[in-house]
Each structure stands twice: as C-alpha cells, then as structure tokens.
Subunit: 265 residues, 2 copies
C-alpha cells in the first residue's frame, strides 16, 4: 500500500493524479494540516515533521512512501532514506527534473516555496543532468536555469482565489522575470501550484510547457510496480478544520471522510 | 516577569508596544514559528499549542502570561485559565473591545483571521458591552457590528509587502463592505495587522478610527502592576528560519538574538 504525505492538503493534487492514473490503487494519505505550511520553515523542523509523518504512514499499513510535497522532498528525503533504508521512498523533485529535461530546448524555470528554492535542490539536479543531456547529444548549448520563490501562491490557493484578479497580479509580479528570459519549460515545484496552472499558463504563454511534479511522480510510482489495487483508500489530517475538508472535496470532486491523526513525538 | 506568546512573529507588535510603553520591562517572548499560522486551524489544535507555549514560558521564569495572538486569545484563553488558575493571563480581545466601545459612535468593524472571526468572540463581546453602553447612557441606537476574515493579510505581511499595490488591491477587496457600511471604528483583530495600518487607514478614510489590540493589551498589563523592570528580555522561536529573524529585526528596529525552543509534548 502506498503512503503519501504532504504539509497539508496540497498533496491531494498528487492523490488526484494517482486516482486518475490508477483509480483502484490502495493508499493512505496524511496531510499535516496542524503544522502547515512547511515552505517558510527550516530544514531541521521539516526533517523532524517528515520523519513523524512517515512513521505514522508505516504504522497504518504503508509499504512505500511518496513525499507528496516539494518542500519535504527537497529537505527531508535523505533523512527519510536513512531512517527507513528498506522502504521505497519516492520524492517529487527528480521526476519533475527528468520530465523538464526531456521537454526543454535549454531554458528551464522553477517556481516553488522559499524553503525549496533556498535549498538549491532543483538548480543542483538540473545542473547534474545537464552533462547527461549533453552526452546524449540532445543539445550543445548550456542549460539556462532560473528559480523563483512564490510564497503567496499557497495562501492564495488555500483562499480559493484560483482565477481572481488579485492572483493574476501577484502571478505577474512573481513570474515576469521568467517571461522576460523566455524559459520554454516551467516546473511547478509545489504541489499546490497545479491549481494555478491556468493563470500561470496564460501569463507565460502557450510556448512555455508547464511540468506538474504530481503527474511526474505518479508515473514513476506506477512504473515501479509498488502498488496494490484493492482500492483501500484512507485519508488522515493532523487538524480537522472544516475549511480543509471543503477545499479537499472541491479538488478531488468527491466526498471524502478525513480521520484525525496524531503524529507528533 | 511577563511571558508573551504568539503563533509566530506577529506578536512582536505587542512586544514593540511593551518596549515603547516600558523599555525596561523584563519579559520572555515565544513565537511558535514551527507551527505558524494558527489562523486557519481548529480550536482543539490551537488549545493544545497554547497550553504547550504557556508551559514553556512558565518554566522559563514567566509569572504572568500575555496571549499576544488574537486567534489563541479567541480560542484558548479558557483552557489556559483552567490549567493555570493562579497565573494572571491577559488576552488581547477584551482590551480591544473596550477601547473600540469607548471610541465608537455606534458602528464597529472587526478584521481578523478565519479562526478568530469564526469563533464569534468579538461579535459576542461587543454585544455584551452594548447593554453596558446603553446603561451608561452613551447612546440610544443599537450597535452595528460587522466582522470580516482577511486570511491573506498575514502571508502578505510575512512576505514584507507592506505598502505594495497587490496588498492595496487585496485590502480593497476585503475591506470594501466595511467602507460601504461606514464603520467609524475598526478593530485590527490580529497582531500582524498593525503593520498594514497605513494601507488600511488610507482605504477606510480618516473618519475611521483603527484600534490596535497590541496597544490596548499593554496598557492593561502595565496598569495591573504585573511587571518587573530589570530589563531582562529573552526571545525564543520554535523554528529559526533566517526569514523570521530578518522580519523581526526590521519590525523592532533592533538586533535580536533568538534562541530555539522545543515546546511540543
């Protein structure tokens, strides 16, 4: 059974992708809504929370872990693999980088939380892959990389302002330098951001391809065979505010019952 | 020694007011930046965090507690007073309501987080006081009350966009119904909001008086005599991201050393 966790309800975009690609998959989801968001917090705090979340999922039947959160993927994957060396652990960053490199003509943008961008992990993984790309003869020119933190995108999504003028203006402010440098491929490096894809696509223009890390990681999970298809699906949150459950139902377009999880040590 | 806590760094507006009114006051401040914000979370979670925060402050020498957070004041003051019946506990809501009632001609607005507005505490306390006001012969007309949640104000402040066009537009959206109903007094029911006071004042107009709960509560604390003036001042955060410390220094206009606090049970 797959265990997925996120700092909150953003990871439900990964669940939505899992349900789209494998409706009968068994999984257990944990959203750490009591401590959300992770995006402005330190590595130490994000590691501690991620270890607690993984322990909860494993104790509830998970046999593999999907870190359905870019911030935790960026900052806690090493700590998780060290703590659970025999458990398959999927993070969302490598698949998104691979998909971006397969698509780009040489100009890649990344948008994410402050913690993810500050970790430098996207930039490092794109640079690593650059030599791979040159070896494969796909391009001679160097890879141009531009990474921008967009801290207000998560609260705007959680406010439900998915197609509002205020959101468009803030998107313009965050994204204008990416448009000026003509990135041809843009990684949505936060699991909340696919909800803003229409606004982002409209501002960046049709010539920019958006890479959604949710779709990228789920393709890898399904390809790995780490999946049980008995359709057992459980949802936990660490805080049950009515707001979270409303947003979750809208996103997944189905009625979901969330159970309260206690994860802290 | 006074112990103050907030969900994060917003409570430093209360510290700033304390330093302004009593520069030599001894205090210990705790910002729960590892679990910030509280504003969209449930009563159960906010109570648990507040009890843990108060226990930390008392174990670090505090002899009274100031809940420097409207959300925790709204949802956790009863739990705190029950847990610590002999400790003086100050919350920010009653002082702000009293100051608003002293100023208003009968039309009061309140802006705060979703959790604070949803608790209904401001509305209830204003209604209670209405009869007091009528008895005191201050007015014959009923009191008009309008309460609006402004969930994006906290992330805008934390992004540092204190005087930006995007913030002005969002303020206009949240506040326009308050302007239409001509509230004469507006309670800033979140410790982050005084940082947006210039934008809010400009949009509402000079005829609207803003009530800052930080100034209101500190006047009550000083009047109570619960204060030691040896100037011992300590600052703790539960997460030490560089962002928090930068914002804190700007707000308080002084160099501050934050220590890391571990508060969870």
């Amino acid at each position: 059974m797959i265990g997925l966790f996120d700092s909150g309800i953003g990871g439900l975009t990964v669940v939505r992708e899992l349900l789209r690609q494998a409706p009968d998959a068994s999984f257990v989801y944990l959203g750490d809504t009591a401590r959300t968001p992770y995006g402005n917090k330190s590595k130490e705090t994000i590691e501690r929370y991620s270890l607690e979340n993984a322990a909860f999922l494993l104790s509830h039947g998970a046999t593999s872990i999907v870190i359905a959160c870019n911030t935790a993927s960026a900052l806690a994957v090493d700590a998780l693999r060290k703590a659970y060396p025999t458990v398959p652990i999927f993070e969302v960053i490598t698949p998104a980088v691979e998909d971006a490199l397969a698509a780009t003509h040489g100009r890649v943008g990344v948008i994410a939380t402050r913690a993810t961008i500050g970790s430098g992990i996207y930039q490092a993984k794109l640079k690593e892959a650059r030599s791979w790309k040159l070896e494969a003869g796909k391009g001679k020119q160097g890879l141009f990389i531009q990474a921008i933190a967009c801290p207000l995108f998560v609260p705007l999504v959680e406010e439900g302002w998915l197609n509002d003028d205020e959101t468009k203006r803030i998107a313009r402010r965050y994204l204008s330098s990416l448009r000026q440098t003509h990135v041809d491929t843009l990684i949505l490096g936060c699991t909340h951001y696919p909800l803003l894809a229409p606004i982002i696509q409209r501002f960046m223009g049709k010539q920019t391809m958006l890479v959604d890390s949710a779709a990228s990681v789920i393709r890898r999970v399904l390809a790995s065979g780490e999946i049980d298809r008995r359709g057992e699906q459980k949802y936990f949150l660490t805080d049950l505010s009515t707001r979270s459950t409303e947003i979750a139902r809208t996103w997944l377009a189905r009625e979901i019952v969330f159970a309260l999880a206690s994860v802290s040590a």
